[in-house]
């Protein structure tokens, strides 16, 4: 007999990644916005400042201290998770596949359809996280990673790409949460944390 309301279970390492990712991304965004305010990406010194409630560090030097500390947690967490999903083949079973794309265009089952969307969205955030690291590295060490910085064209493009991680991640969090809610109700969300 299939249980109707079984609680989904997540791998311990998947939960660990999820927790550390949320914590490190929050630190990166708030300290990053503190740095942003020293010279807004849009408009420079005449640009619009981010309100202090969303900032971390107190001033530019403090924001930089947090940003260049949390970057280790953020990047290394993503690194071990990448190795983990490769070694365990989770990347084949737990991320978007051709079957999801098929379901998106053909499925008449709304549960399957939502599930396909859910998998597509959380798969798509991985390249966004990687781009945040690459564009960040290109700005942090532009002399030593000159080849990487020059791929972005101009400094303004580089700053903009790096900054776009912020609205993208915030939007992702909202969509990811609501899709998870649709797919597995609050029990699914709880299972990813506890």
């Amino acid at each position: 007999m299939p249980k109707v309301k079984s609680t989904p279970r997540q791998a311990f390492l998947a939960k660990t990644f999820h927790w550390l990712n949320i914590i490190s991304v929050t630190l990166m965004i708030t300290s990053g916005l503190e740095i942003y305010n020293a010279n807004p990406v849009f408009g420079g010194r005449n640009g619009w400042d981010i309100p202090p409630l969303l900032l971390l560090g107190g001033w530019l030097a403090g924001g930089r201290h947090w940003h260049f500390a949390a970057m280790w947690l953020f990047a290394l967490n993503l690194l071990w998770y990448g190795i983990y999903i490769l070694v365990t083949s989770r990347w084949r079973h737990r991320f978007m596949s051709k079957r999801d794309l098929k379901a998106l265009s053909l499925s008449t089952n709304p549960q399957r359809y939502n599930y396909a969307w859910h998998r597509l969205v959380y798969t798509a955030i991985i390249p966004v996280l990687l781009m945040a690291i690459l564009s960040g590295l290109a700005m942090y060490k532009p002399a030593q990673f000159h080849w990487l910085s020059s791929l972005f064209g101009s400094w303004q493009v580089l700053r903009t790409v790096h900054f776009l991680s912020v609205p993208t991640l915030i939007l992702f969090t909202i969509i990811h949460y609501s899709l998870a809610l649709k797919v597995g109700s609050f029990r699914l969300i709880k299972s990813m944390f506890f």
Binding site: I35, G57, G58, W59, H65
Partner: protein
């Protein structure tokens, strides 16, 4: 060590900093947030500095074509005031733990081999500008004074009271210049005339303007640099 200490006028940046801190005090955790950031900085600076030193090489950083120069993008940043220095009276003192301390006039400096480079000048605030700098390699000046083998750091003392210290490896990088020309013209007072530091491997605040003294030393002093002493990281490598 006769480092000129900065006069404690309230600069625009300090004022902004102070107002930032005091307005944060309105928040419940405002003061803690600033306090923690100092601790976090102290905890991670050694690691981040090791990374910077590991990445530092004596290979030149690739340069930009002259057509890429962005004359309007270089913002003038000064912690206090802009000194007007008579280039004829001016002498650059190079001393410290060296065998042949020197005092050079601008005429002496201009006789040394000129290096020109088009590099990206990057400010800690986040903006950047592609600039052409012309001047003499700091490594050439260092060679002239014959430093003692225990020298590890270089201090720059400026006419406005600004002071900075660098690791020797970065100071000897082939693109670390004592510059007296910008974008093909003589340096203006705003940009640090008669002579300033220019380099693609350090953040802007490391690149002192109006340098009057270069001091080679074996140990870092408690005063490491104007912004460093306020809480900014010391290495500032790019």
């Amino acid at each position: 060590m006769s480092l000129i200490l900065p006069q404690r006028h309230l600069s625009r940046r300090q004022l902004l900093k102070l107002s930032g801190i005091s307005s944060l005090g309105l928040l419940l955790n405002g003061c803690e947030s600033t306090l923690f950031s100092e601790t976090v900085g102290h905890l991670f600076e050694p690691l981040n500095q090791s990374l910077g030193q590991l990445l530092l090489s004596q290979q030149p950083v690739p340069e930009f074509p002259v057509s890429a120069i962005e004359p309007d993008k270089l913002i003038i940043n000064t912690f206090d005031f802009t000194p007007n220095i008579d280039p004829v009276q001016f002498r650059l003192k190079i001393d410290g733990e060296v065998n042949h301390p020197l005092e050079l006039s601008m005429a002496d400096i201009r006789k040394l081999p000129l290096t020109s480079m088009v590099i990206r000048h990057i400010c800690v605030e986040g903006w950047a500008a592609i600039v052409q700098w012309g001047g003499v390699r700091l490594r050439d000046l260092v060679a002239l004074v014959k430093p003692k083998p225990n020298v590890r750091y270089v201090y720059f003392v400026s006419a406005d009271g600004y002071y900075e210290s660098w690791d020797l490896a970065s100071a000897l990088h082939p693109q670390t210049l004592m510059a007296y020309a910008k974008n093909g013209h003589p340096l203006t007072a705003d940009n640090g005339a008669p002579i300033r530091v220019a380099s693609p491997i350090k953040l802007g605040y490391k690149q002192s303007k109006w340098v009057t003294q270069i001091k080679l030393v074996s140990k870092l002093l408690p005063n490491q640099g104007y912004w460093e002493d306020q809480g900014y990281e010391w290495f500032g490598g790019l």
